[in-house]
């Protein structure tokens, strides 16, 4: 028991899943196919590696630990998307063609399919039979952030573990302990990190994000208050310049407008995330109608999903800003 716990040592949060997988090892009821689904940064990959470590090192000293992280273990096969997707050829050669060969040194042979949702429908179909009737030593782990992109026949053949975004306290704790941040800064970042430990680390190393966000909000407020059409376009341009970080900014804006909505309904309360900016919240909520807020949130979420399809980003941003401006 203790040894398995060591295997899962580096994982932050997700205690229930750790417990479940550990119990499965103890009960000796290792399923042949697992799906780890959840948002990015919710420890899916790390969990998969840890699980693999626990299985592969069962009767042997754990010296092979580093080989797992280095993608260098003979009985652990990682499958990554080639370009934009995982190809049928990869499934055929790396999994179907390989799984009948017995493990080299361990009791198990583990296949981790990263970003499994990038498998096309034919690729997923190719996997079906193998997924169902894998040899007893074979374990296939599919990691995905979009469960609905997998065929129901795939999901039905696997055990599904859903990863929730990490809680703020967990991230806050981690930042304090491992990144040496002060409490106030750690809290601020944990709120912005959206449940992702990776983003939290990224944020903690970045510039002064708070100031930057404050500026962005000031800009938006100007659009709302003065109905200034010129600042719509200048703000649009500003957002375009931040292209690389747009995802993060959009997330922030979505949370911000959600806060406005909550503030509007209930006034000051414990569910508001951006507590430190109450004055701005008040001003925004004074100028925006319920419908506008809802529309804006909708716009942002559509824009976020459209980003994958190479849409005209500038037009999208400007539409959103114009929506903020209109009455």
């Amino acid at each position: 028991m203790k040894r398995y716990n060591n295997c899962f040592h580096g994982i932050i949060g997700q205690e229930r899943i750790v417990e479940g997988l550990t119990q499965a090892i103890i009960n000796n009821s290792i399923f042949h196919s697992y799906i780890f689904s959840g948002p990015k940064g919710s420890q899916r990959t790390r969990m998969a590696y840890s699980f693999a470590r626990a299985l592969l090192s069962k009767d042997k000293p754990s010296y092979n630990d580093y080989r797992i992280d280095d993608n260098n273990h003979p009985d652990l096969i990682n499958i990554f998307p080639q370009g934009a997707s995982i190809k049928i050829k990869q499934i055929r050669e790396d999994i179907i063609g390989d799984i009948l060969i017995k493990p080299f040194e361990s009791n198990y042979k583990i296949y981790i399919i990263h970003d499994a949702h990038t498998m096309g429908v034919p690729a997923q179909n190719t996997l079906l039979k193998t997924l169902e009737e894998a040899p007893s030593y074979g374990v296939i782990i599919l990691i995905t952030d979009n469960l609905s992109a997998l065929l129901p026949t795939i999901i039905s053949r696997s055990q599904n573990y859903k990863f929730q975004p990490l809680k703020e306290e967990v991230i806050e704790n981690y930042l304090q302990r491992h990144q040496g941040l002060e409490l106030s800064k750690a809290r601020e970042i944990s709120l912005m990190a959206n449940g992702s430990i990776e983003r939290a680390i990224q944020l903690s190393q970045g510039e002064d994000i708070r100031q930057e966000r404050q500026d962005l909000l000031e800009k938006l407020l100007r659009i709302i208050k003065d109905k200034d059409i010129v600042s719509v376009f200048s703000t649009g341009e500003y957002l375009m310049e931040q292209r690389d970080r747009l995802e993060e900014l959009l997330d922030f804006l979505m949370l911000w407008f959600r806060d406005i909505s909550v503030y509007k309904e209930l006034g000051d309360n414990k569910w508001i995330i951006h507590k430190e900016d109450k004055k701005l919240l008040e001003e925004f909520s004074y100028y925006l109608s319920d419908k506008q807020i809802n529309d804006i949130i909708n716009d942002i979420s559509i824009m976020k999903s459209n980003r994958r399809f190479n849409i005209n980003l500038q037009l999208n941003i400007e539409t959103m800003l114009l929506r903020i401006q209109e009455e």
């Binding site: 417990e19 479940g20 119990q23 290792i30 007893s136 026949t153 053949r157 309904e265």
Partner: protein, 542 residues
């Protein structure tokens, strides 16, 4: 090591083990007994309904020399050989990974060799929908006229992807979804065999969440088993936990606070479960389902026949349904199920559901449209009433007697008769009619737009007893409006609005003009300048 998933370990070995597909097992067994086996079968149906298992059993049964009632005997040499998949006569082909023309050609080559052990060679082509176009066509001839010792069984979840030429060559069997009851029975049997103690409700919950696929159900059960410590009893709560479901109690509470439009309480409840790490899609789904239960309990006379709830729960659900209207419940259900889709593809599902809940609390959705119209109408009426009060205050009622002399001259003999029949005029004055004129026009417009257009051209001239005289400049307008239907319509509406019976007469302005000399100067002023100039009357007073 060596653990085998439940759905593999308990794959049915005999026809009678297959759950919920009696219509197929009976047919197949009869075919075997009567020796009417055809050469090509197509098994279709959703995942986890037993297609592959059925194919395997069928392959065994046709080869078993001493099968009884069509079931394989499980004891003979052949059955054992097949069970341990050591026989080359049964070929299970994964069409998804062998989907090219080349693989099918190879198959065609081998088809002609007779079976080594039993009497039939069975090709099970699983996931057959993934074959390429060329591969399907390469298969056609063989599928139609294979050697007598060959049976093809094609299995797929998506029969619509197969070419019609394949479909027409096979005997097709559609597998039904497994009912909740059948699934519970099967899982209870497996648990019993494996010495697992599990609550009956827990099994029902699993079955309800498996969507008619037994394999899904067994996968969930498997997950519970791997979590259970030292073979403890598996409870309803364990399953709720694994599936990330919210409790019934929570559903009652949050639906109640949505109905009561209590945003604070709704948020409180919502965040309670969010912190508990529940699945958001499931949450939206369950909430929609709960509102559906409420709606059913509200509308159906015998809800217990449709709803799978206990008597006590139905009473509770019914209680909740007392306050909200059906339309409101429907709008809850539709917005929640719409949001379910958005959530699936969103990276911030929590925010989207949260906003939706606030929206639901704030505007309970489209109320009955008719209700709304009625409310607007009463509002309008009140506004016009207010206006008329204002106007009356401004206009001093003109002396009634001034209109007296006009009366005799404009009355036709015919109307005289009517006059005597309906003498109901509760002392209405022309001003009162004018005050309500706008409202009358609006009412007329609703019934017949043309009449309203004509009426606008006319002018209220006089009110003699219960006869209202409307004057026109143009003969056309006068004549048109004088048509029987139009007059009737007008009379009906005006009488209704004014609350007393009135007769309408349309005359030409010129017919009236000479009478004007005798008329009250106020009236003539109104005639000349139009109604808007009523202010003039006041001036005159000064």
């Amino acid at each position: 090591m060596g653990y085998i998933a439940l759905y593999r370990k308990w794959r049915p070995k005999q026809f009678e083990d297959i759950v919920g597909q009696e219509h197929i097992t009976t047919t197949l067994r009869n075919q075997i007994m009567n020796n009417r086996i055809v050469h090509a079968y197509l098994f279709t149906g959703t995942r986890g309904t037993g297609k592959t298992s059925m194919a395997k059993i069928f392959a065994k049964a046709v080869n078993c020399p001493n099968n009884h009632n069509g079931e394989p005997c499980e004891n003979c040499n052949i059955c054992e050989e097949i069970e341990s998949s050591r026989v080359l006569d049964i070929l299970e082909i994964d069409a998804a990974s062998n989907n090219g023309v080349d693989e099918i050609r190879e198959l065609r080559e081998k088809v002609k060799y007779p079976p080594s052990l039993g009497s039939y060679k069975v090709y099970i082509i699983d996931e057959v929908h993934m074959l390429s176009q060329g591969a399907f066509n390469a298969l056609l001839k063989t599928l139609e006229e294979p050697p007598s010792h060959v049976i093809f069984i094609l299995a797929t979840t998506e029969p619509h992807k197969l070419p019609a030429t394949i479909l027409s060559r096979c005997q097709r069997f559609d597998f039904k979804r497994v009912s909740v009851k059948d699934m519970v029975d099967r899982m209870a049997y497996i648990c019993n065999e494996m010495d697992i103690t599990i609550e009956e409700e827990a099994l029902e919950l699993i079955a309800n969440n498996a969507g008619g696929a037994l394999r899904d159900g067994l996968s969930i059960l498997d997950q519970c088993l791997s979590l259970s410590k030292n073979n403890q009893k598996i409870t309803y709560e364990d399953i709720v936990d694994i599936l990330g479901l919210v409790s019934n109690e929570w559903l009652y509470q949050i639906s109640q606070s949505i109905i009561e439009q209590d945003i604070y309480n709704t948020m409180e409840l919502f965040h309670q479960v969010i912190d508990g790490g529940k699945d958001i899609i499931q949450m939206a789904k369950q909430l929609a389902e709960h509102f559906r239960n409420i709606l059913m309990a509200k509308t159906l006379p015998q809800p217990q026949e449709i709803l799978e709830l206990s008597r006590e729960q139905i009473g509770r659900v019914k209680n909740q349904g007392e306050k909200p209207s059906e339309e409101r419940l429907l709008s809850y259900i539709s917005s929640l199920s719409q949001i379910e889709n958005t959530i699936k593809y969103s990276s911030q599902p929590m925010i989207i559901l949260e906003m939706e809940l606030i929206k639901l609390c704030k505007n309970p959705g489209a109320e009955n449209l008719k209700e709304l119209i009625d409310r607007i109408e009463t509002l309008e009426r009140e506004i016009t009433n207010l206006k008329s009060v204002k106007r009356e205050a401004k206009i001093p009622p003109s002396p009634k007697k001034s209109s007296r002399p006009l009366q005799e001259e404009s009355i036709t003999p015919e109307e005289k008769v009517q006059d005597t029949i309906v003498p109901i005029n509760k002392g209405l004055t022309l001003e009162e009619v004018k005050a309500k004129w706008e409202e009358i026009l609006k009412e007329v417009k609703r019934e017949k737009v043309q009449v309203e257009a004509l009426l606008k051209e006319g002018e209220l001239a006089q009110l003699n007893g219960n006869k209202l005289i409307i004057s026109f400049d143009l003969g056309f307008h006068q004549a048109k409006l004088s048509e029987k239907d139009n007059i009737k319509l007008l009379e009906r509406i005006i009488s209704r609005v004014m609350g007393s019976l009135l007769i309408i007469e349309c005359v030409m302005q010129s017919q009236l003009s000479f009478q004007h000399q005798e008329e009250d100067p106020v009236q003539s002023a109104i005639k000349i300048f139009g109604e808007d100039v009523v202010e003039v009357v006041e001036d005159k007073e000064d």
